[in-house]
């Protein structure tokens, strides 16, 4: 009897344990499965309501959120504009927004989710080269379509990516040529320690060699580095005419503040930056940047009727104190270019859209852009601007025509050694 009683009590406990464990495990598995199902259900509803789902994948948290949130905003604005004008193929566009969290494996994981589970028509996203490199294998494996909105280091042309920012021959190469002509021959290269600055500087060094420039120094610092007194001492010692700055993020703030404190102004040494746009200028303070140069394809002050409208819309949608900048505009262009390609193809099928996209033009805020069918980059105008006391950019140089993209720099003889292994 005694034994039986105890055994029964024991059994109660066994059940308690079992129920707890099973409950949690079931919850986990069910949660996973359930979500999958509900997504699929959405999709069915979607096709009935005639909408097209597109993915937006930017870092909404973490260090890169500073830059990427604005691009997301511009892309949403473009989607709104298209929807108000009747949508694409008569269907409304519905964005599915995912957070890349400034973490490259997360970018890879989320693009898999967007393509495999949500089955979106296309994805707009990415900022850093690392995030693009992380997404690329997924898009190639699942044959998706990615629109990447930021200037980058070139040497890439994936059939699954459209590059709406500048490649090297639309930003770095012409700006170096301009500096050599107008500011001096002695260059100091300063960059953050990752793939874009390193590749960009390799290109600049080859160009300096062939066009009669001189390299007097080259320094890399970690992302987030904030102590530049030593680097500035090295700059002073090597007496360059130009500092070519490929620093990214917060380091720019520390560098420009400490440069000015060390008594170096734009009159002494010109700094040309390629990762500092209107938004970054606000965070650094215009007083530290006044007179220094930046190279982009678009400024908020670019004088076109389309830009006036774009800036007005953007400020109306997100607040008077917001500024537009090159990557923001490139993200906006990407959505419109995709919509035009879909209209032309008559379907959202990736292969057909890719084919239709060749040669498509769009009257963008920066001027007319055209998709180059060979490498899926854009024809873009190159601009160099000077920072004004108000923190805006004053255009001091612009190419006459939009420049043909050349990601592998095959039209430059001095670049041969860089691009062929």
């Amino acid at each position: 009897m005694e034994f039986m009683e105890k055994w029964q009590e024991k059994r109660k406990k066994v059940w308690f344990h079992t129920v707890c464990f099973l409950f949690i495990t079931m919850l986990l598995l069910a949660g996973c499965a359930e979500e999958g199902e509900s997504q699929e259900a959405d999709e069915e509803d979607g096709s009935q309501e005639d909408v097209i789902e597109v993915g937006i994948l930017h870092s909404l948290s973490g260090t890169m959120a500073i830059s990427e949130v604005s691009v997301k905003d511009a892309e949403l604005m473009a989607i709104n504009e298209i929807n108000e004008a009747g949508g694409v193929l008569g269907k409304q566009i519905v964005p599915i927004i995912e957070d890349g969290a400034s973490d490259w494996p997360t970018f890879s994981e989320k693009s898999r989710k967007l393509l495999e589970q949500d089955k979106v028509a296309t994805v707009f996203g990415g900022w850093t080269s690392a995030s693009r490199k992380a997404m690329l294998p997924v898009f190639e494996e699942l044959n998706g379509l990615l629109w990447y909105p930021v200037q980058y280091e070139g040497l890439e042309a994936s059939p699954n990516i459209f590059y709406t920012g500048a490649t090297t021959n639309q930003q770095i190469v012409p700006s170096v040529a301009w500096l050599l002509e107008n500011r001096g021959k002695k260059f100091f290269l300063l960059g953050s320690n990752y793939v874009f600055p390193i590749t960009a500087n390799n290109i600049i060094k080859a160009q300096l060699d062939s066009e009669g420039g001189e390299l007097v120094g080259e320094e890399y610092t970690e992302l987030g580095h904030t102590e530049y007194s030593t680097v500035i001492a090295k700059i002073k010692e090597s007496k360059p005419d130009v500092i070519y700055n490929t620093l990214n993020g917060d380091s720019n703030v520390a560098f420009f503040k400490q440069l000015k404190d060390a008594g170096i102004s734009a009159d002494d040494i010109t700094v040309l930056s390629v990762s500092v746009a209107e938004e970054e200028i606000r965070g650094i303070g215009a007083e530290y940047l006044e007179g220094h140069l930046v190279a982009w394809n678009y400024f908020q002050t670019t004088d076109t009727p389309e830009n006036k409208e774009f800036v007005d819309h953007y400020k109306e949608a997100y607040g008077e104190d917001r500024v537009t900048a090159d990557p923001i505009e490139a993200g906006y262009n990407a959505v419109h270019l995709w919509a035009k390609a879909v209209e032309k193809a008559g379907t959202t099928d990736v292969d057909k859209v890719r084919e239709a996209a060749k040669g498509i033009t769009f009257a963008a805020p920066e001027g007319t852009v055209t998709i180059d069918g060979d490498n899926q980059h854009l024809y873009k105008k190159v601009r160099i601007g000077e920072v004004t006391a108000e923190g805006q950019l004053n255009e001091i140089f612009s190419t006459e025509e939009a420049v043909k993209p050349d990601p592998y720099l095959s039209s430059y003889t001095w670049a041969e050694a860089l691009t062929s292994p």
């Binding site: 005694e2 105890k6 009590e9 024991k10 406990k13 066994v14 308690f16 344990h17 079992t18 707890c20 464990f21 099973l22 949690i24 495990t25 986990l28 598995l29 949660g31 996973c32 499965a33 979500e35 999958g36 909404l60 948290s61 995912e98 957070d99 969290a101 400034s102 973490d103 490259w104 494996p105 890879s108 994981e109 898999r112 989710k113 495999e116 589970q117 850093t128 080269s129 690392a130 490199k133 992380a134 690329l136 294998p137 997924v138 494996e141 280091e153 040497l155 320690n193 990752y194 793939v195 390193i198 590749t199 390799n202 890399y220 970690e222 992302l223 292994p421």
Partner: protein
Amino acid sequence: MKQGLGTINRESQFKWIVYMLILGMMLLAPLFLSDFRLMLLAKYVSFAIVAIGLALIWGYTGILSLGHGVFFGLGAYGMAMYLKLEASGGKLPDFMVWSGQNELPWFWMPFSSFFLTLLLIVIVPMGIAYGLGFLTFRNRIQGVQFTILTQALVLIVVTLLIGQQAFTGGSNGITGFKTILGYSLSDPTVKRVLYWITIGVLALLFALAYWMTKSRFKRVLLAIRDGENRLRFIGYNPAVFKAFIFAVSAGFAGIAGALFVLHVGIISPSMMGIVPSIEMVLWVAIGGRNSLSGAVLGALLINYAKTTFSEAYPSLWLFLLGGLFVISVILLPRGFMGLMKDGMQKIKKRRKREDANENNIDFTFGESKR
């Protein structure tokens, strides 16, 4: 007392039944889940392996490591190097070409062999952990000081990885894999097999850790946690034990990293930084640091929550994560499992009282309170 022993056996028997049930469910999971969800689950499972290792050193030995991201990353990089070499098909990996590297660096050579890769995935993290552990523990650096040193280790390794772009892929990390041993990684069948392998490894390592915590070795570990100096006076050398268990735990993390790469298809220094390393500790803290199954549960739950919540509210998620950390540390020092065990203990005590009243038998379940 004899009765007490009998119940231990029955209880552990029962525990194993539960474990087997869960194992069975996890093995069957591919039948219900889409490829993408399966990938997520596999990722959580590989994180759970890190959590087991962390519980071994933190819960059982009292060493808090904020540097397990490094060991995880080293294992992951090992596997990634092998996969990258296979994907490059005898040529130089693409990122080396961009960075102006002309030939394969010597330390990449062993990774062209799958067998050596498997070996190195375990040996490299264990070696580094043993080296660092032995040096610091020998000098009786312990507690908070050791924890800060592990953070310094993270910074050193991450800085080196990012800085040596030509050798390591820099901040991009390594990605763009195609096949493993000739089988395509994008094939659903291969994915399932890899998932089952991951579950198998989890079960195996769990059993290994379980055995370690039931052996005499565990008593030494607990003694280190509760009174290191007394142990030293008895004649043990705690430094060796601590370094050893630290190395074992690093080995677990290395294996987990390799599995992670197989499923997620990318590794970058952002997975090894200070924040991911602390997050790993969080899984264990919430699941229950004194319990291996708690650690596994914590890793699964937190990562599941992360995927779900951070999709919907990316900024709120960080609040939640920070808050969870604070609450679990203050209110639930022994985590979720501790909470459950306390609950069980109460029920038991009541029963014991009832039993004692009815039968006048001194009856204990003999379960350790730790």
